[in-house]
């Protein structure tokens, strides 16, 4: 989650980060997915920040947004492995 916060701060600054309302809901390190909550209005901003992450601890990574939903219920109903 630190990487996402850093990316938002780097691209949009503290003002932008304050609008995002970022919260980590769920993280599964084995399957490699996470559920992140953010403000609906800041969706594109968070999406761009997540897409801009290329390294975590000097290791190359790529984080992809698999699904976007308004509620956690519909997010989990959408797909088992691909929910994120």
């Amino acid at each position: 989650m630190d990487a996402v916060w850093d990316a938002v701060l780097q691209l949009f600054g503290e003002y932008g980060a304050s609008q995002a309302n970022l919260t980590l809901i769920q993280y599964d390190p084995q399957k490699g997915y996470a559920v992140v909550r953010c403000s609906n209005k800041a969706l594109e901003m968070v999406r761009a920040s997540i897409a801009s992450i290329t390294k975590i601890d000097e290791k190359p990574v790529a984080i992809h947004v698999l699904r976007v939903s308004g509620t956690l219920k519909s997010l989990r109903r959408g797909g088992s492995a691909k929910t994120g």
């Binding site: 901003m45 999406r47 761009a48 790529a62 992809h64």
Partner: protein, 251 residues
């Protein structure tokens, strides 16, 4: 449903494993058409291998060549030689005369400029006016935006913002491509659309830049390369065939 196109996926053509991984990833990310730059003297075997890989993951493969001419005459020579061989031709404009020649030539599909050396981005009003008449499109690669950091990225974003304003003024089409050289630089079309917001491109314009604009180029060129094409608006509908029975009746 919208068909997303990545016209600039850059795997090493020699390393087929990497190419396979990147093409598969491209399909998983939701693209329907992929363009891979090939060397001008590429063999048929390599071409077929890449096409097979794309077919196996149900991707439409587009052949593309990136030209790096030093002079306008070199560009003209390359265009004469390669236009009929590749579906998409991109010109890396390294000097102003080359940029101007590429902008006014109708055989050029994409104009690309250096992402790292901003003094070599020769995209201005004159360039946009010429290219809007010649139907060529400005190519923006997103990979440099991901790999650059700090001041270099800030300057690139600022430059892209200005260029985008120029393209809007002249109704010049823009194509957004990945420019990815490895899997870590590949993102989904919606992620690219979100990233383009960094240089003030609204989502409603970003999605056509990832689908309709590049697909339009491919469609137009495929039609031109088809054996039935004669001229704009003129194509062969039916060919006259010799009937052997009629030959017999002639004394």
């Amino acid at each position: 449903m919208r068909k997303f196109v990545d016209l600039h996926l850059c795997p090493s053509v020699q390393d087929l494993d990497q190419a396979t991984r990147m093409i598969t990833k491209c399909s998983e990310l939701g693209y329907g058409v992929v363009g891979i730059p090939l060397p001008p003297n590429v063999g048929q075997e390599k071409f077929r291998q890449l096409q097979d890989i794309c077919n196996s993951v149900k991707l439409d493969f587009v052949t593309r060549v990136d030209l790096f001419p030093k002079t306008p005459s070199e560009l003209l020579y390359d265009l004469r030689r390669l236009r009929r061989k590749f579906e998409v031709i991109s010109v890396a404009c390294a000097s102003k005369p080359v940029a101007r020649q590429a902008a006014k030539d109708r055989r050029v599909d994409l104009l690309s400029f250096s992402a790292t050396d901003l003094r070599r981005r020769f995209f201005d009003y004159a360039e946009a006016e010429l290219s809007s008449k010649a139907l060529s499109s400005l190519e923006i690669d997103v990979a440099p935006l991901l790999s650059l950091t700090g001041v270099a990225r800030i300057r690139l974003l600022s430059r892209l913002r200005k260029e985008l304003a120029i393209t809007k003024r002249f109704n010049m089409p823009v194509t957004v491509s990945s420019g990815a050289t490895n899997e870590y630089l590949m993102r989904s079309p919606h992620d690219y659309a979100a990233l383009t917001a960094l240089f003030d491109m609204p989502l409603s314009s970003a999605l056509p830049c990832l689908s309709e604009n590049p697909f339009g180029i491919v469609k137009r060129n495929r039609e031109k390369l088809s054996p039935n094409y004669v001229a704009p608006g003129v194509r062969v509908v039916r060919r006259k065939t010799l009937v052997s029975s009629r030959k017999k009746t002639i004394p």
